[in-house]
């Protein structure tokens, strides 16, 4: 289909800007815009038609099953979308005086309290805008904590398992630390012997996802805790997989000192095609003085306020108090569950194990254990026996009306298919997905071309990613004589 710039016709417009009714003022000539930007000239109806058509070329949780591992693609309750539009939330300026922001501050404070209880930790900063920013913020806290103890020169190393999300090592570098990699053992846990050999007085922290990106709870977590705390290092919990353990096991009780929570995963902020997210961090009391400012506090008189006066704070990591609309949705979501968050996690784990049980005969299972809220299969045998890769399986799933799982991650599993059903799906949907996966495994044996050529029923067929990267075209070329073939 055309891009909106190709629909532009001079003389059309959607907006009417009220005339201000005051004398016109002008920008000094040397700073005035010479050429107008070539924004589209379209009617309001064309705007709606264009974006509605684009939406029909996209697939969301609302469209169908979306078992994208590590992303927790669950139902996003619509009441939350209504709540964020309340003028008292939506039309509120972030620099409004505290006495005009009591409802917002109370909401943030209550959300902090809930997150402290769910994580088993003592203090929360809501400011980070996404999980990876929570990671970076957490590592800045680690640095500040050791600097305060005079150990910042000594403790330069952060330990990360080979199953970690790519954000972990990227955050380590951005925070100015050095990486130490630790391996995974035969059961899918962190290799404790490898770990023991690598943790010493130069270690600042461990970053761990638990359950891991393999969907496995680390059975040696208590031993890992002893190793790190014994060496005087801190423990960082990547909360990407918190959906597995709410109300069942808390990162604080596992020994972690810093946790980030992905509000867009566990607590249902809609993913928005890539964002927004929310990445609050929860910490043990000894790290509280270093949290970003301002912090949301309840004062002795029961009012709520912002505390800017934290001399040991790392500073600000984002504007204002954080992505407030995300807080509204996640707070509402958590209030809808209360202590029943445990049932949410139980259902997520049950669904994942059920799908695993139905699929493990047809696909390789690298670690044959019960899983938590997600699991990783491998298409290694399909590839060896029939030439069908994880990508082929993923593309073929589209023809069956499902969004594919995460593929080729974690990196330690070849031809990985990482499947996270979430708790909100019916058994009928899970069965339909399993039937499709089993059918695809049979198709691979009978007629692999049907996989190789998939998808057959999407708006586009397989796209040439190499061409896109080799000669990047990253904006519409107005001058180009003729665009490639129109849809």
């Amino acid at each position: 289909m055309k891009v909106i710039f190709e629909k532009s016709q001079p003389g059309r417009r959607a907006s009417v800007i009220p005339r201000p009714g005051v004398p016109a003022a002008e920008i000094p000539e040397e700073l005035r815009r010479a050429e107008p930007p070539r924004l589209p000239e379209v009617t309001e109806f064309e705007v709606i038609r264009h974006f509605t058509e684009l939406s029909t070329r996209n697939f969301g949780v609302d469209t169908g099953f979306y078992p994208l591992g590590s992303c927790t693609m669950k139902y996003n309750p619509r009441i939350n979308e209504r709540l964020v539009t309340l003028p008292g939330f939506a039309q509120m300026h972030p620099l409004q005086e505290e006495d005009g922001a009591q409802g917002a501050l109370e909401l943030e404070w209550r959300l902090q309290e809930i997150l402290e209880e769910v994580t088993g930790l003592d203090a929360v900063s809501l400011q980070p805008a996404a999980g990876s920013q929570g990671e970076l913020t957490g590592l800045m806290l680690v640095r500040a904590y050791f600097a305060d103890r005079g150990e910042s020169e000594q403790r330069r190393k952060v330990v990360i398992p080979d199953t970690a999300h790519g954000t972990n090592p990227a955050s380590v570098t951005m925070a100015g630390f050095e990486l130490t990699h630790v391996q995974t053992d035969a059961r899918g846990n962190v290799d404790v012997e490898d770990l023991r050999a690598k943790v010493d007085e130069h270690t600042a922290a461990l970053m761990l996802t638990n359950p891991s990106t393999l969907g496995l709870f680390d059975e040696n977590i208590e031993e890992i805790e002893r190793i790190f705390h014994g060496a005087g290092a801190l423990m960082y919990y990547d909360g990407a997989n918190l959906n597995a353990v709410c109300g069942i096991s808390r990162p604080g009780d596992m020994g972690f000192d810093i946790v980030h929570i992905n509000l867009h995963k566990t607590f249902s902020q809609p993913h928005g095609g890539g964002g927004p997210g929310g990445g609050p961090i929860a910490v043990r009391a000894m790290l509280e003085p270093f949290l970003p400012t301002p912090t949301v506090v309840r004062r002795d008189d029961g009012s709520f306020g912002l505390d800017h006066g934290r001399p040991k704070s790392i500073g600000k990591v984002r504007g204002y108090t954080g992505p407030f609309g995300v807080f509204v949705r996640s707070y509402a979501y958590m209030r809808s569950y209360g202590p029943r968050l445990r049932e949410m996690s139980e259902a997520a784990v049950l669904n994942a194990n059920y799908v695993l049980a139905r699929l493990k005969e047809a696909y390789d299972l690298p670690f044959d254990r019960l899983c938590m809220h997600e699991f990783v299969l491998s298409a290694r045998s399909l590839k060896r026996d029939h030439g069908a890769t994880a990508t082929d399986v993923a593309k073929r799933l589209m023809d069956y009306g499902f969004h594919p799982p995460t593929v080729y991650f974690p990196l330690i599993v070849p031809e990985a298919l990482m499947i996270e059903p979430t708790e909100t799906e019916t058994k009928e949907t899970l069965d339909a997905f399993c039937d499709a996966m089993l059918a695809i495994a049979r198709e691979a044996a009978q007629d692999v071309a049907v996989l190789k050529e998939a998808p057959h029923h999407r708006p586009v067929r397989r796209l040439d990613e190499v061409r896109a990267a080799k000669n990047p075209v990253v904006k519409y070329e107005f001058e180009a004589a003729k665009a490639p073939q129109e849809v």
Partner: protein, 447 residues
């Protein structure tokens, strides 16, 4: 008891446990050592039904004073511009709202094409060659740009003008130590930055960051600032207001390396600070150093045009510790709001909104001066200006609010020696009558 967000019936559960080959839900959690189990119910308030939740949330919202209840001239980085209904309508499409990062392009052409169009719109606004798919907000994209500059130049210092939004400077300072960068601030002179001062500070700098219009609302001599930075072979980075770019020159046209900013003014509600989108655009030479997602055009196996995430070897999921940033989740939905808004505006609407802001702000300056208030800086401005209120500005804010008008931001919150200064923002939503009311109230309380 069932829960509206949970789907399994008791008989489903039994059958599923049987298929798995376990006898109870507890058995599924057998890998958890006893010592790390909670062993009690979470200490949270009981669940609320949708109806109860609505009432509770309405109660919280009612204890906020928003711009429908208070005439507001508060800006300082976040602005009360009009957001048209088409934005709400598009963003509530479930196919956009409930999708994630378009890792599987055949499932995600809607998001991918809209990001491609967003990138085009941002490049048109800023005069740049390449835009990413969005960053968190106007503060973090500035920190991201410092990371680009550090790697592009190998230098260890960034220069930022003191007239740049304090929130932005604070975030840059938080990130800088991890990047191995020192931050040097250049003071303003009479509300704007002296290009000579930039020239003196930019020796050996990786980047020079300035804001146009600056935090005081004043128009910087931006082309001269960019030239001074370029002369020192530092990256010239302009932090710009997207809604000014219908009337103010595009940073790409006066030699900047990078243009970025807070997107909120263009298509997002203020929402107590977010979520919004930060935009980041650069000259072609920085394309492989850009942080975050970038969408590129390509063709499918039948030669049909389509879009994919591209240049992914920059990114954390492939490059890991050597990535150009750690960003993964970004602000796609808010950036889509920006694109829909800019499509609604078109080039004429963008210019008219800018002219309306400019003219109304000039009108407000005159009205306030007629009431005996003094401008702090006698400089050209866009939609915001600093005015002296002759007493503590925070007290003036309090007393004006008691009269139903939020008169602006007390600059003493961030700048020493400016305790008696208010920063007044006037968007196209304000009317001549509302400006008269501001003048009346300030004449009364700024004695």
């Amino acid at each position: 008891m069932s829960h509206p967000f949970l789907a399994l019936t008791d008989s489903d559960k039994e059958e599923m446990l049987r298929t798995i080959g376990v006898s109870s839900m507890d058995e599924l959690f057998g890998d958890l050592p006893a010592g790390v189990r909670l062993g009690r119910e979470l200490d949270l308030e009981p669940p609320l039904s949708e109806q109860e939740l609505s009432a509770h949330m309405a109660g919280l919202a009612s204890r906020n004073v928003d711009t429908t209840r208070e005439l507001s001239f508060l800006g300082a980085g976040i602005y009360d511009h009009y957001v048209p209904a088409v934005v709400d309508t598009v963003l509530q499409r479930g196919e956009f709202l409930t999708a994630y990062t378009p890792y599987q392009p055949e499932m995600s052409q809607g998001v991918l094409q809209s990001i491609f169009e967003y990138q085009t719109a941002i490049c048109e606004l800023t005069g740049m060659d390449v835009s990413n798919a969005s960053g968190y907000d106007g503060t973090t994209v500035t920190a991201d740009a410092c990371y680009i500059a550090k790697h592009a130049t190998g230098r260890t210092k960034v220069v930022v003008t003191e007239a740049t939004n304090p929130q932005v400077r604070q975030v840059v300072k938080t990130y800088a130590p991890g990047f191995g960068l020192d931050v040097v601030e250049v003071p303003h002179r009479g509300g704007v930055t002296d290009p000579e001062a930039i020239a003196a500070a930019s020796h050996d700098a990786a980047a020079v960051i300035f804001q146009q219009p600056n935090f005081f609302g004043c128009l910087e001599p931006a082309p001269d600032l960019a030239a001074a930075a370029n002369e020192a072979e530092a990256l010239s980075i302009a932090h710009v207001d997207p809604l000014s770019l219908g009337v103010l020159e595009a940073p790409g046209r006066y030699g900047c390396a990078i243009a970025l900013g807070e997107g909120q003014a263009a298509g997002n509600l203020m929402a107590y600070g977010g979520p919004h989108y930060g935009f980041l655009a650069a000259r072609q030479e920085f394309i492989r150093r850009m942080p975050g997602r970038i969408v590129g055009e390509t063709v499918d196996v039948e030669g049909k045009r389509g879009y994919v995430l591209t240049l992914q070897t920059r990114e954390q999921h492939i490059r890991r510790e050597k990535a150009t940033s750690n960003i993964t989740t970004n602000q796609t939905l808010l950036a889509l709001g920006g694109l829909v808004y800019l499509s609604w505006l078109g080039p004429h609407g963008l210019r008219e909104v800018g002219e309306a802001c400019l003219s109304l702000a000039e009108h407000a300056k005159r009205r306030l001066q007629e009431r005996g208030l003094e401008l702090v800086f006698e400089r050209p401005t866009f939609k915001e200006f600093a005015i002296r209120v002759r007493r503590n500005a925070r007290e003036v804010v309090r007393e004006a609010r008691a009269r139903g008008v939020h008169p602006g931001y007390a600059l003493g919150r961030d700048y020493a020696g400016m305790d008696d200064v208010l920063l007044v923002a006037v968007t196209e939503k304000r009317t001549a009558e509302e400006i008269d009311r501001l003048a009346d109230v300030l004449a009364e309380v700024a004695r």
